[in-house]
Symmetry: C2
Subunit: 387 residues, 2 copies
């Protein structure tokens, strides 16, 4: 197994791109990543792209071939992977594996979703396919509903409050306000969140990530040749993925995402680090409760203490660990297939010292955490400054 590094990154602004299509978004992100790596397209040996629901959202499957075509990469293989909202993280993991194994040298990993071509009820229905269609979606359970169950249980067991949930959204908007790629670049207050419309009690509109269009890409290479392309390679020191039951009702616990815990344990072991070593983290905050569970399951805080830690400012600049400098899914937006790759882009910028107004000082280790559905898939990557 070879060591693997990120040599180029790029992304579109996340937001409602009414005037643009799936293909435009992919090409913009891909070209930016290729330019950032300073390579020509012919150098690329293979590609992987994460897209969750293009069949439902834009009537297009076979997006690997579509992207190979529109990026001018033919005839190299470009493969679509899908694991609901973890599709981007899975694409990164497949690309990492291809380079690590020696199957390919230069590999592009992309993520993209075009969500605003359908009305919101169509989008909700498509997203429902991330859960158990027969036992959840068909019965009327939407994703806000599923995460609301987890939030209620977390509140009951650990005393987590609606203010603590709101604090996650407030912090992520504060970070997103410094990210020119974020869908929402405005700050909000706890009061804004608490007074916003209830979606699935206790979750309100401002506890939920939005519907977003966007694409992101990263270029990977073996570490030993990465230095010939960039002065600032970022090594991927661990890539782990785990599965859990598709249906929430079959889980042993509603207050943890076991797949996150299992993937994180493997990633820390492979990278030979502990949570204390991590300086900057992108977690999967599809809902505010998801960030609270994530920072617990990833080992940054004890189970049950994530809410309190968020309210006390321990997850932002000056705290124990800086979480979601990009603004997270909440403020940066959540084009589902693109999110896992966007996380890698943000961590790369942080470890290169290019995150401008939201830079974590002297960041050496980063971690990204991407979840599919209500936790049936979790993907964790750990990154290290390799210069």
């Amino acid at each position: 197994m070879r060591r693997v590094a990120i040599i180029g990154v790029g992304m579109t602004k996340f937001g409602e791109h009414w005037e643009r299509g799936y293909r435009d978004l992919v090409v913009e992100a891909g070209v930016k990543a290729i330019e950032d790596a300073g390579i020509s397209g012919e150098k690329i040996d293979a590609g992987f792209v994460g897209t969750m629901a293009s069949g439902r959202l834009i009537g297009q499957e076979h997006v690997g071939a579509l992207i190979a075509d529109y990026m001018g990469l033919n005839p190299i293989p470009v493969t679509r992977v899908e694991g609901a909202c973890a599709s981007g993280g899975i694409a990164l993991r497949q690309a990492y594996t291809a380079v690590a194994s020696g199957v390919a040298d230069i590999v592009v990993a992309g993520g993209v979703e075009k969500m605003t071509d359908l009305d919101t009820s169509g989008v909700s229905d498509a997203l429902g396919g991330a859960g158990d269609q027969e036992w959840e979606l068909f019965m009327g359970a939407t994703f806000p509903g599923l995460y609301a169950l987890m939030a209620r249980r977390h509140m009951l067991e650990y005393g987590t409050t609606e203010e603590m949930l709101a604090a996650v959204a407030v912090k992520n908007h504060k970070h997103g306000a410094k990210n020119p790629y974020a869908q929402y670049q405005n700050e909000i207050t706890i009061e804004t969140v608490l007074k916003s419309k209830v979606v699935a009690d206790p979750l309100k509109v401002f506890d939920c990530s939005p519907i977003t269009d966007g694409a992101a890409g990263v270029i990977l290479a073996p570490l030993d040749i990465a230095y010939s392309y960039t002065k600032k390679p970022i090594e991927i020191v661990a890539s782990a993925q785990a599965s859990d039951t598709i249906s929430l009702s079959a889980r042993k616990s509603l207050t943890e995402i076991a797949a996150t815990r299992i993937a994180a344990q493997k990633a820390y072991k492979d990278a030979k680090v502990t949570p204390k070593d991590i300086d900057v983290v992108e977690v999967h905050d599809c809902f505010t409760i998801a960030e609270i569970m994530a920072i617990e399951d990833l080992g940054f805080f004890k189970k049950g203490e994530g809410g309190k830690a968020s309210l006390e400012g321990r997850t932002t600049f000056g705290g124990d660990v800086v979480v979601n400098t990009s603004g997270g899914l909440k403020a940066a937006g959540h084009p589902v297939g693109a999110t896992g790759i966007k996380q890698a882009v943000e961590i790369t910028w942080q470890l290169r010292g290019q995150a401008e107004g939201r830079q974590v000082k002297d960041a050496e280790y980063g971690l990204s955490h991407n979840v599919g559905g209500s936790g049936a898939t979790a993907v964790v990557h750990i990154y290290k400054k390799a210069y």
Copy 2:
């Protein structure tokens, strides 16, 4: 890179499984493959599954996690890959890569599609997502229409006739009649085909593969440990994938699938064999013209001579090479995501000498060929008897 072998295979009967769901099909095929390999589920390190359009066909995405759950494989990663009708071949290729690289030892590759839960117009629309949604499907071009264009051009350039197309269907039904897993196990005549209803001139109903439910699975292991599980390991000696334009209109030629040619050239080179060495072949005959182009592009016959060769019986028992002993997509059926894996199952049975009434005598090398869309993706695998 380690050498990789198939140690177990299994599949459902292909057909219209009105009374069964996606999950039932997956579990049947998976359990059969695991039993055939003589392993326990805990031995499995990872899984890849090819499914094209579960979001459209059954409202379910995130099928990697679903399958991990229903197969009792949690918490190992199971990853869905999608490349239209080549999804199964891509799943096999990813599983092959995982084992070859040393990322995993025992890996399951599956393919599944449940197509009969929608009406045929819904299925046609979902399948249209394999082509170019903006430039083909939206304009009304269906897949029979796209392949009809190729057929017309092949007839014009090479004198291919409707009888030659029909001969492919007749031969595949003859083979399928000997395959207990085939959707159609009845023989037909040239006249049946020529008199059947026109779908997209010159293609008639009997020139087209059907709508099918089904699943198939194979278990892979490093060759050196394969012998501890089976006396008859089948080595995968090459795995290649190539891309072409998503839209037919952008191709240089309408009478070849360039992605097939490119993938095949790489596969022959990696396997150090020529078409002459191959004894048994499963090709992607989604339409009869597709088989004619495939046997040319794979190098078994010169460009333009595939139709004549088919009519002359050179692609069946006693001919130059035996093509589609399973009955192909035409007679065995075409549950899109499952087809690429079914091909591997059939080749394994052939190389083990377990194909009963359709056995190719002393088969030593096999090849499978899986196409996505109108040829934007092609995947070629070459297999060798390793005992």
